[in-house]
């Protein structure tokens, strides 16, 4: 009994520490974003006065004037396009790797692993030069293509792990029971594969959403600049004001929805990130 309550207290403290450490930067950003400009430098963790001016100024002037709306749209569209294309390509490859025997399978897996380790900075110079020659510099495809390259290994590994767990015999069993091949695929395989694909999609989306290096190297204007890159170029309302408040507000806008999403699908994300080892 004695030992039980001590252990309980230790766990509680440990959990509280982890929780506080994880939450502090987010709470702090929210706090900064809610401070009126004159209170930004008060150094208080909890704002003494709450104002939404920073958020208003982000969206002021609509899409043409606002430094934030266009990058936000760019970020969403580029990350979504990357996700869809990456998952389609990775599903094909993962199906082949999980279900078919063919020479070169190990080579593909090893190659994907090598690319997961590849330093993106080494491709920046050539891409910068190539994209300008091909007219891809500062365009959506100019970012989507490198994002595809670097997200595919993640997606393939995640999907292969999921596809290996699928009891494919069920497909034949359903056909024996009188289902057409298409019915067997749609009613048996798709529901079994969907969670894995959804998980891989979340991981790819977060990867593309997070990128900064390609975004500042391969864009030069709001035509395709994404939020992380745009944040680095934020300036204050006038040359005498620091952009701290508006950066914080923009950061909150791009962070809170993702956090809610991540927390909602946390089981999936954990299983995706650890795919391959579980039930090995």
């Amino acid at each position: 009994m004695e030992r039980g309550s001590r252990e309980y207290a230790l766990w509680s403290i440990g959990i509280a520490v982890v929780l506080i450490f994880a939450m502090i930067p987010v709470l702090w950003l929210i706090s900064v974003s809610l401070k009126p400009p004159e209170a930004i430098t008060d150094g208080r963790f909890i704002p003494s006065e709450v104002s939404f001016d920073n958020y208003k100024s982000l969206f002021e002037g609509g899409i043409d004037e606002s430094p934030f709306i266009k990058p936000l749209i760019n970020s969403i569209l580029i990350a979504l396009s990357t996700t869809v294309i990456s998952i389609v390509l990775a599903s094909f490859a993962a199906y082949a790797i999980a279900r078919l025997e063919f020479p070169g399978k190990r080579l593909i897996l090893a190659g994907a692993l090598a690319i997961a380790m590849f330093p993106p900075i080494s491709t920046i110079g050539p891409l910068f030069d190539m994209w300008r020659a091909l007219g891809l510099y500062d365009t959506y495809p100019g970012l989507i293509i490198p994002y595809l390259t670097f997200s595919l290994p993640l997606a393939i590994y995640c999907l292969v792990a999921f596809f290996r767990e699928i009891p494919w015999e069920l497909e034949q069993a359903a056909q024996v029971d009188g289902a057409t091949p298409f019915q067997a695929f749609r009613k048996v395989i798709v529901p079994l594969a969907a969670p894995g694909m959804f998980t891989a999609a979340i991981l790819v989306f977060i990867f593309a959403w997070n990128d900064f290096l390609f975004a500042i190297s391969l864009t030069s204007s709001d035509a395709s600049r994404t939020v992380p890159a745009a944040l680095a170029f934020f300036t204050g309302e006038s040359s005498f004001t620091e952009p701290t408040g508006s950066i914080a507000a923009a950061a909150v806008v791009v962070t809170v929805p993702i956090i809610v999403f991540v927390l909602f699908f946390q089981r999936r994300i954990v299983s995706g990130l650890t795919a391959g080892a579980v039930k090995g």
Partner: protein, 303 residues
């Protein structure tokens, strides 16, 4: 005769299966090579030329001159030291913290869900955003850190090299420990619980169970996690770019490459830096795979 026919039929089927498999893999393989294999070849080609986009008329083959300039500059060695230092420190801290969190998530009597929720918050946040959050927190004018007890109000965190590193390391550890913890957790759940029960019966302490059962059995998972995090840490860019932009000698090799390529448009010199970074990454991967002698190809020990 009939036997020959079946083999022929089987091999035709095998061949068509191979063709299908390759067709399915081709798009992904092409997409992966398009932005890695070709550009690295191109980078090597650029690195032996004098190409500066600000002076387009000058140029030509210069052999290894660019490499000589980079390798004989103090900046490269300072930046390499910074990168290696930051990598070693962050990955070590992450391994310890990640292991503790993984153990908590695996064996907690309660609150497992809460911890998992908490560690996923950093994972979901854009690195640049996290860097801004920590920068604002430590900024001498707007931050709250200097108002905490035991910390001088006057502390200028970004005014000096190693205090800048401290903040950079903190932000990096905060952002990437969850990934480490989850990879370690994946190794942890594969360990048979009966081993612990048996060890308990034999009177092994919790620490003995950890060092004699958990650690040896987790060796492959730990190596995979370390390999991925080391290479990831080695390419550190976002956090430094936002926090100091390389001021106070805090530049990493990735920042150096970026400055040469994109800010100065010196493709020749910048490409030499890129290729050197690529060689460093190869060396690190080789060390892990070779010296530690574990198969990591499939992310788990081969059966």
């Amino acid at each position: 005769m009939s036997e020959g026919a079946t083999t022929a039929g089987a091999s035709a089927r095998t061949r068509s299966e191979h063709r299908l498999a390759w067709l399915l893999c081709a798009p992904a393989v092409i997409a992966m090579l398009a932005v890695t294999a070709y550009p690295i070849g191109y980078a090597i080609a650029l690195s032996v030329q004098q190409i500066d986009l600000r002076f387009p008329d000058e140029g030509g083959f210069v052999g290894l001159d660019n490499y000589a300039s980079v390798l004989s500059s103090d900046l490269w060695w300072t930046d390499l030291f910074n990168t290696v230092f930051l990598t070693l420190v962050t990955v070590s801290i992450e391994l310890v913290l990640g292991m503790i969190i993984a153990l908590v998530m695996h064996r907690a009597i309660f609150g497992r869900g809460v911890v998992r929720t908490a560690v996923l918050i950093p994972y979901g946040i854009i690195t640049v955003v996290a860097a801004f959050a920590w920068q604002f927190a430590f900024a001498p004018d707007s931050g709250f850190v200097n108002n905490l007890p035991l910390i001088s109000d006057e502390m200028d965190w970004f005014g000096e090299r190693f205090s800048s590193f401290a903040v950079i390391i903190m932000a990096e550890v905060w952002k990437t420990t969850p990934f480490m913890a989850l990879l370690l957790l994946a190794g942890l759940v594969t360990i048979d619980g009966q081993l612990y029960e048996a060890a308990k019966v034999d009177g092994a302490s919790a620490w003995q169970r950890f060092t004699r059962i958990t650690l040896p059995l987790m060796k492959p998972a730990i190596l995979v996690a370390l390999l991925f995090r080391t290479l990831d840490a080695f390419r550190i860019f976002d956090t430094i770019y936002i926090m100091t932009a390389g001021a106070q000698d805090t530049e990493s090799v990735s920042i150096l490459g970026f400055n040469q390529l994109i800010s100065r448009l010196n493709l020749g010199l910048g490409s030499a830096v890129s290729v050197l970074i690529f060689i460093c990454v190869l060396a690190i991967a080789f060390l892990y795979v070779r010296v530690l002698g574990t198969r990591v190809e499939e992310g788990r020990p081969v059966k």
